[in-house]
């Protein structure tokens, strides 16, 4: 079980049980929905951006522990950060779970988010961990919906190209 314990660390299980910033903001000027149609993960993000800074952020939805914990920890990590810093975290998190960023060796701002590093060894679960981050990216770029079943990579093209009808 060591591999599984590495993935399902107490901090992930805790965020799954008691997700932080769970709910929906009444006063939000950004929002987006993310779907993972293959497993039914569904995340709805509401964000309030003030002076280019994420003032408040909340999420709600259904998902596996990896997805929920990722969303919960993401909201904690980006709250109070500038949009630019948040986007950096999106890129770094994505790099870590897809294996293009060595979170231990290369410089990054991921901090506690490094508990998700084990996901990179489970290709079928990468989408679960990354969904909240793609959704955040969509919200910050004034998109309303993302899907992990889009023509692949939401970052590969202009975000507008990835609208999921």
């Amino acid at each position: 079980m060591s591999d599984m314990r590495q993935l399902y660390q107490e901090v992930i299980l805790d965020h799954n049980r008691k997700p932080r910033n769970f709910g929906s903001l009444l006063a939000a000027n950004r929002h987006a929905e993310g779907h993972n149609p293959l497993c039914g993960d569904h995340i709805r993000l509401t964000v309030n951006v003030l002076d280019d800074k994420i003032d408040t952020i909340a999420f709600e939805g259904d998902g596996c522990a990896i997805c929920k914990a990722s969303a919960s920890m993401m909201t904690g990590a980006v709250k109070g950060k500038s949009v630019l810093n948040a986007e950096t975290l999106v890129t770094e998190f994505r790099g870590m779970v897809t294996g293009t960023l060595d979170a231990e060796q290369q410089e990054n701002q991921l901090g506690k988010l490094k508990v998700f590093v084990g996901v990179k060894d489970l290709p079928s679960r990468v989408k679960c961990a990354i969904l909240p981050w793609h959704t955040l990216h969509a919200a910050l770029n004034a998109e309303s919906e993302v899907s992990t079943e889009n023509a692949g990579d939401p970052f590969a093209d202009d975000p507008v190209e990835n609208k999921h009808a």
């Binding site: 993935l7 399902y8 299980l13 497993c39 039914g40 993960d41 259904d62 596996c64 522990a65 929920k68």
Partner: protein, 409 residues
């Protein structure tokens, strides 16, 4: 296995893949409803075909072409006997169940279903028996009517019968549910539809591998199933259709092999079944499906059904003893499919943790999102058994479920 003479260890020896280690543990393959494994006899048939028998069929006069044609047509006859169809020309090879259903939608549906007509499907259907009919309904302005089910996952037969009216033109119905395991009372449902002169297609993808099928007894107009769920390869499936239905249908695809003569002005279509088999068919896969049918028949479908029932009962009994686990699909008549939910744990986490113990189950919506919506769950975990599974493997599944619960406690 005291209760039966079923020698599962001897059967397991026929399946090389069952020796595999996953995550450093012996593979426990419980995803048979998605795809079954292949016995050595079928693998040998494929090897022999590719090394000694391959050529294109129905064309040349040379040795290999004649041999391949003979083997291909022999496979058709094996399918005919497997389904107890009246004639071999009632057997059409397709890529799978999905293509078989699409063939009927195009060949029959587009010709005979018109604006305002009604098509009956059920709340249990796999997407492959929903979407084609929805596409047809959209194209024609026809209406899809859905047979509801109860909380056990059984179709409400009274409601089914109440759906019929003068506009009802077709019934497309699953024989056995892939998501819940429900065995539908298709014989009586076909009989009722026929009273209203409505033809019926049965999706047998989950039924054909697990019980003897007799299309003449069922009296269905169409029956579809897939090779890869029946110990055969992917890329091959079967559509059975009553000859009189197939004869009045339009071809599905145009191309070689489905014609008698072609000029630029006019094409004369070939006779059934060739009218529906445009292009070079999956020859190897069809022959391998024939070998898979030989293999299953040698064990006996009745023996398989009885043994799998024993596995299902054993698994159901043991899973029910675990607090916090709910079974979805509790129909009185069920195939060896066990959909379940562990309280507080998403099915995908269940799947990942079980995989770490070498146990392969399916997690997700099982291509039956309306079923998930009916039970108000985003997904389920599903263990589906085959005749090569054992009670020891089910014990491992039960232990695995307990491990999941401990981790998430």
């Amino acid at each position: 296995m005291k209760a039966t003479h079923f020698d599962v260890e001897r059967i397991r020896a026929d399946f090389p893949i069952l020796n595999l280690q996953v995550s450093g543990k012996p593979l426990v393959y419980l995803d048979n409803a998605a795809s079954s494994q292949m016995p050595q006899a079928v693998i040998d048939t494929i090897t022999r075909y590719q090394t000694q028998e391959h050529a294109n069929i129905h064309r040349a006069v040379h040795y290999l072409s004649e041999l391949a044609t003979k083997k291909f047509e022999a496979a058709r006859v094996k399918v005919q006997h497997f389904l107890n169809a009246k004639e071999s020309r009632e057997i059409i090879f397709t890529r799978g169940t999905t293509e078989a259903i699409n063939l009927v939608m195009h060949g029959y549906g587009r010709a005979f279903i018109n604006k305002g007509d009604e098509i009956i499907i059920s709340a249990l259907e796999h997407h492959s028996n929903i979407v084609p009919w929805q596409m047809l309904a959209q194209e024609k302005g026809a209406v899809l009517r859905v047979i509801p089910m109860n909380d056990a996952g059984e179709l409400l037969i009274d409601e089914y019968e109440a759906l019929f009216n003068a506009k009802t033109k077709f019934v497309a119905l699953m024989h056995v549910s892939n998501a819940l395991g429900t065995i539908n009372p298709v014989k009586s449902m076909v009989a009722f539809a026929h009273k209203h002169s409505v033809p019926v297609l049965l999706d047998g993808a989950q039924a054909a591998p697990h019980q003897a099928i007799d299309v003449q007894d069922l009296n269905c107009d169409f029956y579809a199933f897939s090779g890869h769920k029946l110990c055969g390869p992917t890329g091959i499936g079967v559509l059975y259709g009553k000859a009189k239905m197939l004869e009045k249908m339009q071809p599905y695809q145009g191309g070689g092999d489905m014609i008698l003569s072609v000029t630029f002005e006019k094409t004369t279509y070939n006779v059934i079944p060739y009218k529906f088999e445009a292009g070079t068919p999956p020859i190897m896969a069809a022959i391998a499906l024939g070998a898979a049918i030989d293999y299953l028949t040698s064990i006996g479908l009745a023996n398989i059904a009885a043994y799998e029932k024993e596995l299902l009962d054993y698994a159901t009994q043991h899973i029910l003893t675990i607090a916090g686990v709910r079974i979805l699909g509790t129909a009185k008549k069920k195939a060896a499919v066990l959909s379940f939910e562990i309280k507080g744990v998403h099915p995908h986490d269940v799947g990942t943790i079980l995989n770490d113990q070498g146990i392969a189950i399916r997690t997700g919506h099982h291509c039956a999102q309306p079923v998930m919506q009916r039970f108000n769950v985003p997904a389920t975990a599903r263990a589906s058994f085959a005749f090569y599974n054992t009670k020891q493997e089910i014990d491992k599944l039960i232990a695995g479920i307990k491990t999941v619960q401990e981790m998430f406690a």
